[in-house]
Symmetry: C3
Subunit: 153 residues, 3 copies
């Protein structure tokens, strides 16, 4: 099954790309790779949640934020490669979690992104990953996700 | 116009590379890519500002720090590829902003780096980017910027 | 001398790969590159230290944590490329240090990783690097290290 057919089966709609909040582009393709910009949990033009995970934002909500950020990263990738069917491997994901003091469950949060990638891409979605807790993110987002994807020539 | 001619027109001088503060090198070239080390806002041997953005450091000063860090990243790249005229695309920029609690305007700060890259490289300077707020940076720098550049063979 | 011979000479044992704490894989190989996941300072199944560097964790202990995280990153790489003798260059290291407020000696901490790479790989171990202070890391780790390695075809 193609990746786009799998997306349809899962009922996941890849939105129009979220415009960058500053002087850069959503994604760059170079050789066989796509680098996405860090993506925030915007859905239908609004942030799903705001603030620090572990105080302002519940970890389960933050996991959904990570999932939405990953969807937006795929939207960014699709905007430069045309179709996600060209993706041959998700290489790397970095997940930044705006974390309240003492919050250390970043992996469970970023699983929202990782599990989505496995659902969509299967074995090609098995990626290397770093999850870290940061002190704050753009426009008070609780999560930011960036990716490197390998694509067919 | 070549990238170096554009630098001259803009009056931007790429300095000698800032020596790493530890056991690594300023940049590595591999295949058609240059990876720079994270660069700090050193100018003429001194840090432009120190501390957390949003409390110790004004966001406008921090934006200038991001611009200087980007200049230092280009110096690092030039030290391994010879001339910046070989750059065919700025692929990715990551900007770390040492952020006071509650500071969430990292994009405006890192625009200091992004806008510089657009000025110098034009369309080839349009890059993917992540901006995040961190709790502290080496030797109390307010900003750290790293890049991946694509270069001609 | 091969890299594995050098490891033996140094008395460094590359352990079995530490299983990811979530839905991803330890490392991905793509083209001539290996991307590792962020690695924590696990040794013999337990974290060497826990908490924030500069308050809970002494910087010298944190440096050992960075060294162990780098060893685990090499274990992750070895799990996908077979032998570390295939490594032709350490391209990039990112070191995240869970930092107490005001702690800015991240470079000295991450030198634990960088110095290890130079010891093992010699000139091929000279890498680009970013070191940043973050507010918290998975399962209360003081340090997390990720790498990009270039490998022979």
């Amino acid at each position: 099954m193609s990746h786009t057919a799998r997306l349809a089966e899962l009922g996941i709609v890849i939105p129009e790309v979220v415009p960058p909040v500053a002087a850069y582009v959503p994604a760059v393709v170079t050789g066989r790779y796509v680098y996405t910009s860090g993506q925030l949990p915007m859905r239908d033009g609004a942030m799903i949640a705001e603030g620090l995970v572990g105080s302002d934002v519940d970890p389960e909500v933050a996991k959904d934020c990570a999932r939405q950020s990953a969807i937006n990263a795929l939207a960014a990738a699709a905007s430069v490669i045309g179709s996600l069917d060209r993706v041959t491997r998700v290489v790397k994901v970095v997940g930044f979690v705006a974390s309240a003091p003492g919050f250390t469950a970043q992996p469970a949060v970023i699983n929202g992104a990782s599990e989505l990638l496995l659902e969509i891409f299967g074995d090609a979605g098995r990626h290397a990953r770093s999850a870290v807790g940061v002190s704050g993110l753009p426009i008070n987002a609780p999560v930011e996700v960036e990716m490197v994807l390998e694509v067919a020539d």
